[in-house]
Symmetry: C2
Subunit: 91 residues, 2 copies
DNA sequence: ATAGTATTTAGAAATATTTCTAAATACTTA
DNA sequence: TAAGTATTTAGAAATATTTCTAAATACTAT
């Protein structure tokens, strides 16, 4: 909800890397954490930011929470960026 | 130079609005400032951030500095976003 | 129920961002 | 050269972000 939230979420390198990991498919918080030199608490914080920006969603299964990419919001910001690129005197 | 810089620059509403204003053509720092309820110093700060992110460039003319959109970097981040969207198991 | 694993929440410290005022710089023109 | 306009820089205050440790929650399986 809102470009600020989306762009802010994308501005952190760890969060961008999380999205890239999720490109290949769903991962648990623990799996994600294993790619970083950060505590689980910090990973959880970044996942929360990504979730709030609607860039990922979660699904619980057994003892795990799996995270997946949500590309809907990405399409919206692509549109915003396109409008800047294409835009001329008459927009 | 670096997605972090670009996304961080785009995460501020004032800076996004500046880019939208520049869509229509070059504007001086003062012209830009007249659209906001902020001091000139603050506008100058935001312009510096956008400049550092290569989202705008300036050209001096008479007593004014004119700012213009630079869409090159926008294309790069569109590519990064596209790669997330299209990406499947084999990327 | 108990113990174990996975993840989040709370609280605190360090750092970064945003904004202001006041002063400095740069350029123009009388 | 002096005065005026446009913009930036410096320094400080308020707020936000990122990270940690320690504790809490949630679920599983014995």
């Amino acid at each position: 909800m809102g470009y600020a939230e989306t762009f802010k979420a994308l501005s952190d390198p760890a969060r961008r890397q999380i999205l890239e990991l999720l490109k290949k498919g769903p991962l648990s918080a623990g799996d994600i954490g294993s790619h970083f030199d950060m505590t689980g608490a910090t990973i959880s914080y970044h996942l929360k930011i990504l979730k709030q920006a609607d860039l990922i969603f979660e699904s619980k299964e057994k003892n795990f929470i799996y995270y997946q990419l949500n590309t809907t919001v990405l399409e919206e910001i692509m549109l915003w960026i396109s409008s800047l690129q294409g835009g001329g005197k008459d927009d």
